[in-house]
Amino acid sequence: MRIILLIVILFSFYNCVEPHRIETETYEDVLIIEGRINDVVSVQKIKLSRAQRIEQIDEISESNATIWIEDSHQEVFSFHESSNGVYSSNIEFAAQPDTSYQLFISTSDGKRYESQPVDLTTQNAIENLYAQTETINGAEGVQIYATVNSNADNSEFYRYEFEETYESIIPSEYLSIFDIRIENGLYGEFDLIIYPKDEDDSTCYTTENSSKFILSNVFEVADDNNLSFPVNFLEKTNHKIRNRYSILVKQYVLTRDTYFFYKTLRDLGSVENLLLETQPGFVIGNVHSVDSDEKVIGFFEANSISSKRIFLSYSDFDFPKPQYPYECIVYTLDYNDNTSLDGDRNDRILIKSILSGQKPFRFVEKDLTQPIYTFVNPECGDCTTYSSNIIPEFW
């Protein structure tokens, strides 16, 4: 009795965090406005969407809205819906210095929204993009920095986006120019047919976008004469730098208000732990409803932008070669072994099973004299199972 009592007490003491089902009755249908124009002559794009339910995966785009931008010289730029929820300017244009821009939206249900007038931010392009070794939180790796001109005025706040592309090459011991397939015979029998591959599936290129807001400001840099902002950090063991790696960094010069809008969004993302929770809340932007106090989320920005690309790999930094990202499972199987009565497994049945199904194993090699085959799991024999073998244009 005593022990049971204690267990009950301790159980209830220490199991104190439980998943909680989010109630979706609280869903609020809020218009999301992503309005970013820049100083590069191009088709400018505005994106409209609606907040979706927490458990809903698909985005809800806001179609059939009328969008236009007016500048302080009374020039009007009209937009049309080029794809679901994405509105493109009818003409190519670039935001100009000393001009303010205001976004107007009229949705299909007749509701009207407008932004505060915004000015184009000061141009201060990325002067240099470089990588250097660094240790962060105990992990050694390479930090990619973007440097801007430290003498420029009115350009204190920056946001970065990047697109990283990296080469994946399957381990050389599993390289094969041949593929294998099963040809079924009568009575459940099968034959193995080896044939040459029709394309190279040993080298692939993966492109990924930055997955968080990268914000910087000149105030947090100690050395005023060298304005270098960290953009992306790769640990030395990261498989992305196992071969050639490329990063394209896009820089937005922000206004103070825009910066704090993104900073708030960024800070809302994570929760440290039970004791130190952050205060969530509705994030106010600079776009508002004209007719009511309906809540909308969004910020209309006119940013000066620039971008730069660099290439690197582990060998540039004296790092050991990172591990291949997948564990390789190798089977060497004897086609002639078709019984388990001899005390070991039935190899032939195994061959059939690993070559069938959703993710068939890949052929590596065959013994010259006997029908003994070596197979490897698909991720180690064919990089197109997780990436693409199309070489990017810039490579």
Binding site: Y14, E28, G269, Q279
Partner: protein, 920 residues
């Protein structure tokens, strides 16, 4: 030496009686006496026969118990005191007469119109001097006490009667006891030394005493002149019955202050509490107007105030974190606590520095008569309290020690599967009381508490309170008294991260404050009583440093500069009795705060929201150099109007200022919340409160009813921006927002104080709102409109009831209902700039589910034999009988783009506990 021996022919089997007569007055003579199995009556006769004393007593009032004693060379006082200590019998020696009275005639219900009739009679009697023997005999069956000398030319119509009131069992003085003359308006209360003084009219008076937890005593006294009358009163043998309840200090009808609650420590034992521990603070939070965040949080909110707005005092010294184990236990040892007063409406002028409330706890004054102890054992904690007299009636020591062995239990149960969670705590208290002469007393208290816990992680959290407090009291005369108080209090916490990673660190925070205070009390006349004094406290905060734990750690040593502040106050208050109906309690306090160096303060560009990016200038200050000063007059005013002796109306206005703020981004207080002083950029918080109350007794004071309403307006209340980083932030002000607060509510409390069934029902409806508006978008919350604060819980119902089945068995229950806390809910998701985001509602737009809980307990008293080693009782209680799954908080995490919600639960199953309590 003259020895005589006696043999009684009536009852006894055997007895001997030795009497030793010395050459001085009879009282100083020593007697030796031994007897066995004699009734009191016969003992008296025996003494009478062998001395010059004559005994006067009513045979029928004496019990039939027999006594066996052996005294050698003792005074008559000693013999009688010892003989009668376990009885309700009192004696009084006047010359050669010894008058024996039995004062324990307890009338449960007086006859109807008893008071009326008596009043007339007494009034008549007062006029009738001299007094005829016959008169009082007929009225009082012969039990009377005579004070003063009867003289024919007695011109004074009133005489001073004074004396001490002591507990029969412990000899401890009883404070706050009402002593009054029945049927007249003459009354007073005892001070902390049990001393009282009143003016009694000449003639026959019936003195009565009243305090909860003790038997009422009546003494019929004939007053001829000035004299001393001591009372020895007995603790109520039926105190289980006698309630639990809280009663307002003194008489709640009569005090002018609104919103004060006195928690009766004794009552606590009949309320089922978590894990078998009696918990004073938990009881305080069952009062209407006080709200808790639920289990697992020490913080509580008084009348819509934040958790950091409560001034919690233990023996005058502040205690920053009065809780153990996330607030599951209070850190104050219940066995050592003497009284708890909770001020939520009117705060007395000598207290200040917090906006919402004062919880004034006093450890119990030490029993200087005899060694005694008290303790309890439960599967979770052990507690032992000892009271040690060092010099009889002069010097005494109280020690208390309590600790948990849950950690040890956890380890022994989970041998095979080590889990990283652990929790343990201890607290210790030492109090020293010294009576230096009749007029001066010294009290010293040392207190320490320590907690350490870890919840399934590599991080260990530790915190501790340390208090040293000294109080010297002196009575210059009966009208002028002074108290000098000095204390030092320290609170500190550490977060130790000791995993297998390279980010091992030790983070520490500590706050230290030292206060000196003087309090003078001057009774000018029967209409004015003035309290005045000054206080000054120095705060030293070490906001912390982070140390790498070992050479492998990549954490860099960082230290944030110390902060200092000096908060001083002058105060004066007057209790002005305008007439029998009106009582005014008016206090004024002027508080002055200095933010002191050394330190660095940022000056921000006023055209932008505060942020690191808008620092215009950084100013450096030398050690103890003034950074900024704030001065604020504070008014504490309350008035009472008594409609009749049983009904009164009170109104109060109070304003308070707070110069120190808790930095908590949590919705509830957590032990690792640091404190921050007001400085150049952080203004003090201010509050104005208006309250009105109706207080009433009915059904012969069986029921007590109060209805109170309040409206509160607050300024510069602190809140935090989204994602505020509070620890080790040099520019903390950039994470803070200061806004207006508004709170209002109505509180109803109905108590039944007597009978087999007793307890109380408290209900409050209250709102707590705040507004964070700014010209800057980032500093605005909910578009600058008022929104419910984190602790806005409109409905709050508490029912506490005890039912006494027999003398040994009693049942108690406790029901709590509270509206769920407001919460900011995720109301959707969206993608912005290619990144998945959670869409949150407006701040505090939704609520977590309502909180309710039902607890049940049984108390089994040990037997009621007079002679036994220790008095003991068992408490079996079940906490959360329904197993209600009350979420403590709900929070949301964006894990790899997937939004997950977690809720924190502390007790989601019924928790049985058994505790053994003993007292010796």
């Amino acid at each position: 030496m003259d020895i005589k021996s006696f043999f009684s022919k009536l009852h006894l089997l055997f007895y001997t009686f030795f009497l030793t007569q010395m050459m001085f007055a009879q009282l100083d003579k020593s007697y030796s006496v031994a007897f066995s199995n004699l009734e009191l009556k016969d003992v008296f006769i025996a003494i009478e026969d062998n001395s010059n004393f004559s005994f006067y007593f009513d045979e029928h009032t004496l019990d039939k118990k027999t006594y066996s004693k052996n005294y050698s060379n003792q005074s008559i006082h000693f013999i009688l005191k010892d003989l009668l200590q376990a009885t309700s019998v009192n004696y009084f020696i006047r010359d050669n007469d010894i008058i024996i009275t039995n004062n324990s005639i307890i009338r449960r219900n007086l006859p109807i119109n008893y008071f009326k009739e008596r009043k007339d009679e007494v009034a008549k009697v007062i006029k009738n001097t001299p007094i005829f023997q016959k008169q009082f005999i007929s009225e009082n069956k012969g039990n009377y006490i005579i004070i003063g000398k009867e003289s024919s030319d007695n011109s004074d119509s009133k005489h001073k009667v004074y004396g001490y009131v002591r507990d029969q069992e412990t000899g401890r003085p009883i404070a706050d006891l009402l002593v009054y003359i029945k049927g007249s308006s003459v009354k007073t209360t005892t001070d902390k030394n049990g001393y009282y003084l009143l003016k009694a009219p000449t003639g026959l008076n019936v003195f009565e005493t009243k305090v909860i937890g003790f038997d009422a005593i009546k003494k019929s006294v004939i007053v001829y002149g000035e004299g001393k009358l001591d009372f020895i009163i007995k603790e109520s043998t039926e105190r289980l019955d006698e309630v639990i309840v809280t009663s307002k200090k003194n008489d709640f009808i009569k005090e002018a202050v609104v919103g004060i609650t006195n928690i009766d420590i004794k009552g606590i034992k009949t309320i089922p509490l978590v894990l078998g521990d009696r918990d004073i603070l938990k009881i305080a939070t069952t009062m209407p107007g006080v709200k808790t965040a639920g289990e697992g949080s020490y913080g509580f909110n008084v009348r819509g105030g934040k958790a950091d707005q409560n001034l919690i005092l233990l023996d005058n010294a502040i205690i920053y974190n009065p809780s153990h184990l996330f607030g599951m236990f209070s850190a104050i040892n219940p066995f050592t606590t003497g009284s708890v007063n909770l001020y939520k409406g009117s705060i007395s002028a000598d207290h200040g520095g917090r906006l919402s409330s004062v919880i004034d706890m006093e450890s119990k004054s030490v029993n200087k008569k005899e060694f005694s102890g008290e303790g309890s054992i439960s599967p979770i904690t052990g507690n032992l309290v000892l009271e040690i007299p060092l010099k009889e009636d002069k010097v005494g020591l109280l020690t208390g020690f309590r600790m948990t062995y849950s950690d040890w239990l956890l380890k022994s149960i989970t041998k095979s599967e080590p889990i990283k969670s652990h929790a343990n705590f201890l607290d210790a208290i030492l109090r020293y009381d010294h009576a230096i002469g009749d007029k001066t007393s010294l009290k010293a208290t040392a207190y320490y508490s320590n907690d350490a816990f870890s919840i399934a992680s590599d991080s260990t959290y530790k915190y501790s309170n340390r208090i040293a407090s000294l109080e010297l009291k002196h009575a210059f005369n009966t009208k002028n008294k002074a108290s000098f108080q000095l204390y030092n209090s320290q609170y500190q916490f550490n977060i130790i991260n000791d995993g297998n990673y390279t980010d091992n660190f030790d983070f520490g925070f500590n706050i230290n404050e030292t206060q000196f205070k003087t309090l003078f009390t001057k009774t000018i006349n029967s209409k004015h009583k003035i309290d005045y004094g000054l206080s000054s406290k120095l705060y030293i905060i070490n906001p912390g440093e982070i140390n790498p734990l070992d050479a492998n750690s990549d954490v860099l040593f960082r230290k944030q500069a110390q902060e200092k502040g000096l908060e001083s106050a002058l105060f004066i208050s007057d209790k002005f009795k305008i007439n029998d109906k009106f009582l005014l309690d008016l206090g004024i306090r002027y508080s002055y705060y200095l933010s002191l160096g050394e330190g660095i303060q940022n000056v921000y560009d006023p055209n932008y929201p505060l942020s690191e990016e808008t620092i215009l200038e950084t100013r450096e200050y030398g050690n103890y150099e003034k950074i900024k000063s704030y001065g604020n007059p504070e008014v504490r005013a309350s008035i009472r109007y008594a409609i009749n002796p049983d009904i009164s109306i009170k109104a109060a206005y109070n304003n308070t200022v707070q110069y120190i703020h808790m930095m908590s981004s949590n919705t509830t207080a957590s032990p690792v919340d640091s404190w921050k002083l007001s400085n150049l950029n952080i203004a003090p918080q201010k509050s104005d409160q208006y309250s009105l109350g109706l207080f009433s007794y009915f059904k012969d004071k069986t029921y007590e009813f109060s209805l109170e309403g309040y409206y509160k307006k607050m300024k510069d209340i602190l809140d935090f921006k989204v994602g505020a980083e509070l620890l080790l932030n040099e520019n903390l002000e950039t994470e803070l927002l200061q806004g207006e607060g508004e709170a209002y509510g109505a509180e109803i409390l109905l108590k039944k104080k007597k009978g087999k069934l007793n307890g109380w029902i408290g209900y409050s409806y209250s709102r707590s709102l705040m507004k964070l508006d700014s010209e800057f978008l980032v500093d605005r919350v909910n578009d600058g409109a008022y929104f419910p604060t984190n602790h806005d819980r409109p409905h709050d119902l508490n029912v506490i009831a005890n039912y006494k089945l027999t003398k040994r068995y009693s049942f108690s229950m406790n029901f709590v209902y509270q509206t769920g806390r407001p919460i900011t809910y995720p109301v959707g998701r969206y993608t912005y700039a290619g990144i998945e985001q959670v869409l949150y509602s407006d701040r505090n737009q939704y609520r977590i589910p309502d909180y309710y809980r039902f607890d049940f307990g049984i108390n089994i008293e040990g037997n009621h034999k007079v002679k036994k080693l220790a008095h003991s009782f068992w408490n079996i209680s079940v906490y959360n009988v329904f197993g209600r799954n009350n979420p403590y908080s709900i929070y949301f995490v964006n894990e790899d783009g997937e939004i997950k919600a977690y809720k924190t639960l502390i007790f989601s199953v019924p928790i049985p506990t058994i505790t053994y309590n003993f007292k010796f």
